[in-house]
C-alpha cells in the first residue's frame, strides 16, 4: 500500500516539475519584445565574465545606436559596455549603475544627457528596462522608482504596479507575433549595438548654427531627476562624465541641452559635447544620419573611431587585446565585422568593388555565379583578374565579346565547380552543397530562360543579364546578398530588384 502511495507522489512530483519547466520556458518566449533590441542589451551584459568592463556608458538610443563597443575594443583594447536602451527614463540611471556594479567594476561612467530634454516616462519605456532586467531586488526597486516617478509627474488613470512585477499577463497574447528573437538569442546585436541602415540628408551648416541657441526650459521632472542623480554622483566615488552625442534636432532642443550642460558644469562635472567636434569626427551630414536623433552605421563608425581615440587620451585605460579573459569581446569583434561586411556587400553597386569585397570575405560564404547573355563588352581584364583571386580560372574567355554560358560555385573560399559552356551551349550544374540541393543554369543567348540559381526549390538569382551572384552564409544558409551586374556594357549596371526574406 505504501509503495503505491510513494509511486503516486513521485509521479505527481515529476508531472509538477515538467509543468513548471514548461511554464518557465513559456515566460521566456512570450515576453517583452521590441524593435530596439533592448532584451539583448541586458542579456549580453549578464553573459559577460565578471569585472572586465572598463567603461560603462548609460543613456538612451543616443548611446545605443552610436557606440560600437567591439570596434572600440578592436582599435584600443578598451572594454566599453553601453547599458543603453531606447528612450530610457533618466531616473533609472542610478539603479542601472547599481545593476552594472553587480557584475562589473567600471572605472569610468559616461552618462549621456540626451534624454533630459524629453519627457520619456511611459509604459513602453519603463518596460524596456524592467521587463528585461533579471529578477532581483534591484528590479523591484527599479519598478518602484520608475512607477512612482511616473505617477507623480505624468499620472495615468489605469495603472497597476503588479503588471510590472509579473508581466506575463501582458505579453501572453504575443503568440500571434512571435519571431526568431523570441526563441533564440538576438543575433543582430553586438554588445548592445545594432546596425542602423536608414539614411536621411541634413544641412550641416544649418544644424551647427543651432548650437548657439538660447537656453530653454526642460521638463520639470527631468530637472528633479538630474539634481537627484548629481547628488548621487557626489557620493558615488567613481568618475562620472556626461556626454552629448551629435544630433540634428531643432533649435529648441539645442537650447535645452545648453541649459542642461551649464547646470551640470555648475555642479562641478564635466560634459563631453561631441557636437563641437563633428569636424574632427568627420561626420558627413548627407550620408551619416538616420534621422535627427540617430546616426546610421557609417556615422556610428566615425563617432566610435573618435571616441576610441578620446578614451585613450582622456582616461588612460589599459589595452586588453590578447588577454584570454577578454575573449568575449574578441568574439564580438569578429562577429560585428562579419555582420558589417555582409551589410556593406549589399550596399555596393560597383562591380569591381563588389568583387574585391567578395575576395576579402570569401571564407564562411557560399558564392553562386551564373551568367546570361554576352559578358564581354563590360567584363574587363581587371574584373577577370579579381575573379581569379576567388579561384576562378576559366573567366578569361568571358572577356571576349561573344556569348558564353558560365556557372560556378565557391564554398568557403574553395571553388567546388566551374563550368564554361562549349561554344554556344548552355551550362548546368546540379549538385549538393552543405546538404542542400543547388541547381545553377546559365543560358547562351539562344536560351530564353536566362539563368537560374536555385537553392533547394527556391529561385534566388535576379535572373538578369550579365553576372548573377548569390552569396549565402555557409553555416546558416541565410541569403546575404543576391545581385546582378549587367556586363553587357561598360557601365556594369547593378541590379537588385528582387529581395529575399530569409
Amino acid at each position: 500500500m505504501k509503495k503505491k502511495y510513494l509511486f503516486k507522489v513521485i509521479d505527481l512530483s515529476v508531472l509538477a516539475l515538467v509543468v513548471v519547466l514548461m511554464f518557465l520556458y513559456l515566460f521566456r518566449v512570450l515576453g517583452f519584445s521590441d524593435n530596439t533590441h533592448s532584451k539583448a542589451v541586458f542579456q549580453q551584459l549578464y553573459d559577460l565574465p565578471e569585472n572586465i568592463v572598463d567603461v560603462a556608458w548609460l543613456g538612451p538610443s543616443s548611446v545605443q545606436e552610436y557606440i560600437i563597443p567591439s570596434q572600440i575594443y578592436e582599435y584600443t583594447g578598451i572594454t566599453v559596455y553601453p547599458l543603453a536602451l531606447g528612450s530610457v527614463p533618466f531616473d533609472s540611471t542610478e539603479l542601472l549603475i547599481k545593476e552594472m556594479e553587480k557584475t562589473q567594476d567600471p572605472k569610468v561612467y559616461l552618462i549621456d544627457i540626451r534624454d533630459l530634454a524629453f519627457s520619456s516616462l511611459s509604459d513602453p519605456s519603463i518596460r524596456r528596462v524592467t521587463d528585461n532586467m533579471a529578477m532581483s531586488e534591484n528590479r523591484t526597486a527599479m519598478i518602484d522608482q520608475l512607477t512612482s516617478d511616473w505617477q507623480e509627474f505624468l499620472p495615468v488613470s489605469k495603472f497597476n504596479k503588479l503588471d510590472y512585477y509579473f508581466s506575463f499577463p501582458k505579453y501572453h497574447s504575443r503568440w500571434q507575433e512571435l519571431e526568431k528573437a523570441d526563441f533564440v538569442d538576438d543575433d543582430e546585436v553586438y554588445l548592445g549595438y545594432w546596425i542602423g541602415k536608414e539614411v536621411r540628408v541634413f544641412d550641416k551648416d544649418e544644424v551647427l548654427a543651432r548650437m548657439d541657441a538660447e537656453e530653454v526650459e526642460i521638463p520639470a521632472e527631468n530637472l528633479v531627476f538630474l539634481n537627484r542623480f548629481l547628488d548621487f554622483c557626489d557620493s558615488f566615488g567613481k568618475r562620472v562624465v556626461f556626454t552629448h552625442t551629435p544630433h540634428c534636432l531643432d533649435e529648441e532642443k539645442f537650447g535645452q541641452y545648453n541649459l542642461i550642460m551649464r547646470l551640470i558644469r555648475e555642479r562641478g562635472y564635466e560634459v563631453w559635447d561631441m557636437n563641437e567636434s563633428v569636424d574632427e569626427i568627420g561626420l558627413d551630414y548627407q550620408t551619416d544620419f538616420q534621422g535627427p536623433l540617430h546616426t546610421n552605421v557609417w556615422g556610428s563608425k566615425k563617432v566610435t573611431d573618435y571616441v576610441s581615440r578620446c578614451l585613450v587620451n582622456f582616461f588612460h585605460l589599459p589595452n586588453h587585446r590578447g588577454d584570454p579573459e577578454y575573449a568575449d569581446y574578441e568574439e564580438y569583434v569578429t562577429r560585428f565585422n562579419r555582420a558589417l561586411d555582409e551589410y556593406e556587400l549589399t550596399q555596393i553597386t560597383d562591380f569591381e568593388t563588389y568583387l574585391e569585397k567578395l575576395v576579402s570575405m570569401k571564407e564562411g560564404c557560399n558564392i553562386y555565379i551564373a551568367t546570361y547573355g554576352i559578358q564581354g563588352y563590360g567584363l574587363s581584364n581587371q574584373h577577370a583578374s579579381t575573379l581569379k583571386q576567388l579561384g576562378l580560372n576559366q573567366v578569361d574567355a568571358l572577356t571576349q565579346p561573344e556569348y558564353r554560358s558560365y556557372a560556378a560555385i565557391i564554398s568557403d573560399g574553395n571553388v567546388l565547380h566551374e563550368k564554361l559552356g562549349e561554344g554556344t551551349s548552355d551550362t548546368v550544374i546540379e549538385t549538393y552543397v552543405d546538404n542542400t540541393k543547388v541547381s545553377l543554369s546559365s543560358a547562351n543567348w539562344k536560351g530564353f530562360y536566362g539563368c537560374s540559381i536555385r537553392l533547394g526549390v527556391t529561385e534566388r538569382s535576379q535572373k538578369e543579364n550579365g553576372f548573377n551572384i548569390v552569396v549565402t552564409d555557409k553555416e546558416t544558409g541565410e541569403i546575404i546578398d543576391t545581385v546582378a551586374f549587367d556586363t553587357k556594357d561598360e557601365a556594369c549596371t547593378c541590379i537588385r530588384f528582387v529581395t529575399f526574406e530569409n
Binding site: 503516486k8 505527481l12 508531472l15 509543468v19 514548461m22 511554464f23 513559456l26 512570450l30 489605469k158 497597476n160 503588471d163 506575463f168 499577463p169 501582458k170 505579453y171 501572453h172 497574447s173 503568440w175 500571434q176
Partner: protein, 519 residues
C-alpha cells in the same frame, strides 16, 4: 472579484486547503464562511441581507409547518402555515421585482405605452440587488414547496439552510439545485486526488470556453451589433449564427468552472447543459439548455398549473365539445403559456417576453400540433429519419430557431431586435448583398485577427469533439480516463497552455462579466 480573476483562484486555493486540513465536522461551517467572504468581495456586502431574509423566512415557515404536522395539528392551523408560506413567496417575488425586475417593469410599461399611449412609463430608482437573486430565490421556493409537499424534511439548523441558499459557486449563474441534491453540503468529505484533479480539469475546460471562445466570439458579435447599418448583409448572418455559440460557451463555461469549483470541495452540483445543439427538436432543446431552470419550471409551475382544478375542469368541458385531441392541445397551450410567461419574466425584461416566451410558446405548440402529421409524411415519402443527415438537418433547424429567439436576448430592447431581424431578412436584397466580405478579409476589421479566427474555429471543433464524447460516454472525461496516461496528460496540458496563452486576460483586456450573471 469575478470567478475568472486571479484573486478568486487565490481565494479558492486557500479555501480548499483550509477545508481539508480542519476537522471534517466543521466543513459545512467553513463552506458557509467561504460563501460569506466570497459574497463580501464579489457583491455589495449589505445586500446579503436579502439572501438571509429569504433563507430565514423559509426556515421559519417550513420548520413551523413540520412541528405542527408532527403534533397532529388541525387543518385550520395548517392552512395558516400555508398562507404564511404564500406570503413568504410574495415577499420574495416582490423583492425580486423591485430589485431585479425593475427593468422588466419599466420596459413592460413602455410596451403597454406603445399600444395605450395614455399609460405612463415610470422609471423606478435603482436599488442594488443581491448577487444571484434570480437563482437563489427559485432555490428557496423549491425548498419550501418540497417541504410543504412532504418530499423533503425541513432543515432544522437555520445556518445550514443559509448555506444551501448562498453556497458560493452557485451565486453567479446557478445551477438551481433542489434541497435533496445538495445534502452533501452537510456531509463529511475527505481529500482525494481524484476530486481535486477532476475539479481542476473541469475548471480548465470552463475557462477555455469562457476566455478563449466566448470572449473572442464576443468581439465579433459586439462589433456587428454595435452598428448594423454599417455591418449588413453577410455580417448580420455572422452575428446571427455566432451568438448562440458565444452564449453557450459563456454560460456553460461558467457552469463548468462552478461545477469544477464545487468538485474541489467534493460537492456534486447538478448539470445545467447537455449538448443543447445536438437537440432534434425545440422541446428537446429546453431539456438540454439551462436544464435546472427548465426542470424547476416544469415541477413547480407547469405541473401545479396543469393539475389545477381550473384547468382540469376546462379540459373536461373541451373534451366534450371539441374532442380529446383539441382539448389536449388547448389545455397544454394554456399551461405552456403560463410556464413561458414566467420564464420570460424571470429573464427580467419585456423583450424576453417576446423573444423567449412568445417565440418558444409558438414554436413548441407548433411542434406538438404537427408531430403526428410530420410522422405520417415521413412514413409516406420514406424519408430516412434514422440517418445522420436527417438528424443533422433537425439539429440545424433547432439551432436556427434558437438563434432567432435570442436576437431578443442580445438586443437592448424590442425595437432594436426587430431592426436586426429586418436586416437579417433584407440581407438578400440587392443593396445589402455582400457575400464577398467573407473572403476578402473585411472580417478582420471587426477587431479580430486572422490567427484568432483560426483559434475560434479550432476551438469550436474541440467543443464538437467533447460534445460527441459526452453523448457517447456521459462525460468526455470518462473516455479520457480510459486512454493511456501520457495521452491524457498531454490533452490536459494542452488545455492548460491553451487557456494561459490564448485566453483573453491581462492588462488591456476588460474581463467581461458572465452574460448570465446579470440574473
Amino acid at each position: 472579484m469575478t470567478i475568472t480573476s486571479l484573486n478568486f483562484f487565490i481565494f479558492l486555493i486557500l479555501c480548499v486547503t483550509v477545508y481539508y486540513i480542519l476537522p471534517k465536522s466543521f466543513q459545512w461551517v467553513e463552506l458557509l464562511l467561504f460563501s460569506l467572504v466570497f459574497y463580501y468581495f464579489a457583491a455589495t456586502p449589505l445586500t446579503f441581507g436579502y439572501v438571509a431574509l429569504s433563507s430565514f423566512m423559509a426556515w421559519g415557515v417550513t420548520n413551523g409547518m413540520e412541528r405542527d404536522r408532527k403534533k397532529g395539528a388541525k387543518a385550520s392551523d395548517m392552512k395558516a402555515w400555508k398562507i404564511l408560506m404564500v406570503i413568504s413567496f410574495i415577499i420574495n417575488i416582490c423583492l425580486w421585482f423591485r430589485l431585479k425586475g425593475r427593468a422588466f417593469l419599466s420596459s413592460t410599461l413602455w410596451g403597454i405605452n406603445q399600444i395605450f399611449p395614455s399609460v405612463k412609463t415610470v422609471e423606478l430608482p435603482e436599488i442594488v440587488a443581491a448577487l444571484g437573486m434570480s437563482y437563489y430565490t427559485l432555490q428557496i421556493i423549491s425548498y419550501t414547496l418540497d417541504c410543504y409537499w412532504e418530499n423533503a424534511k425541513p432543515q432544522k439548523n437555520p445556518l445550514k439552510l443559509l448555506l444551501f441558499s448562498c453556497f458560493f459557486p452557485q451565486m453567479i449563474t446557478g445551477p438551481i439545485s433542489r434541497y435533496d441534491q445538495l445534502q452533501s453540503l452537510y456531509e463529511k468529505h475527505s481529500c482525494s486526488y481524484k476530486n481535486l484533479a477532476h475539479g481542476v480539469q473541469r475548471i480548465l475546460w470552463g475557462l477555455f470556453k469562457k476566455i478563449v471562445i466566448a470572449e473572442k466570439c464576443g468581439v465579433i458579435v459586439d462589433a456587428i451589433w454595435a452598428d448594423f447599418t454599417l455591418y449588413r448583409g453577410a455580417y448580420i448572418w455572422i452575428a446571427f449564427l455566432l451568438y448562440p455559440i458565444q452564449l453557450y460557451s459563456d454560460f456553460s463555461g461558467c457552469m463548468d468552472i462552478v461545477i469544477g469549483v464545487a468538485e474541489l470541495f467534493d460537492i456534486k452540483l447538478v448539470e445545467n447543459f447537455k449538448n443543447p445543439f445536438f437537440s432534434q427538436t425545440s422541446q428537446e432543446f429546453w431539456q438540454r439548455w439551462h436544464i435546472t431552470l427548465g426542470t424547476w419550471a416544469k415541477d413547480y409551475i407547469l405541473y401545479p398549473v396543469l393539475k389545477s382544478k381550473g384547468l382540469q375542469s376546462l379540459n373536461k368541458k373541451l373534451k366534450q365539445k371539441c374532442g380529446k385531441k383539441a382539448a389536449k392541445i388547448i389545455t397544454t397551450a394554456l399551461g405552456m403559456a403560463v410556464l413561458w410567461f414566467v420564464l420570460g419574466v424571470w429573464h427580467g425584461a419585456f423583450k424576453h417576453i417576446i423573444g423567449v416566451s412568445l417565440w418558444y410558446w409558438i414554436i413548441l405548440m407548433l411542434e406538438d400540433i404537427f408531430k403526428p402529421y410530420s410522422e405520417k409524411i415521413n412514413k409516406k415519402f420514406g424519408f430516412k429519419t434514422d440517418e445522420f443527415g436527417w438528424k443533422f438537418f433537425r439539429a440545424a433547424r433547432t439551432y436556427l430557431t434558437y438563434s432567432f429567439g435570442i436576437v431578443f436576448f442580445r438586443a437592448k430592447d424590442v425595437p432594436q431586435a426587430f431592426r436586426f431581424l429586418k436586416e437579417l431578412f433584407l440581407s438578400f436584397t440587392k443593396s445589402r448583398w455582400n457575400p464577398w466580405v467573407l473572403f476578402d478579409g473585411s472580417i478582420l476589421n471587426l477587431g479580430i485577427t486572422y490567427k484568432e479566427l483560426n483559434v475560434i474555429f479550432i476551438a469550436i471543433l474541440a467543443l464538437l469533439a467533447v460534445g460527441v464524447l459526452r453523448e457517447k460516454y456521459g462525460y468526455a472525461r470518462n473516455w479520457l480516463d480510459t486512454q493511456p496516461v501520457l495521452f491524457r496528460r498531454t490533452i490536459y496540458l494542452a488545455l492548460l497552455f491553451a487557456v494561459v496563452i490564448l485566453g483573453a486576460y491581462g492588462p488591456g483586456y476588460q474581463s467581461s462579466a458572465f452574460i448570465y450573471g446579470q440574473f
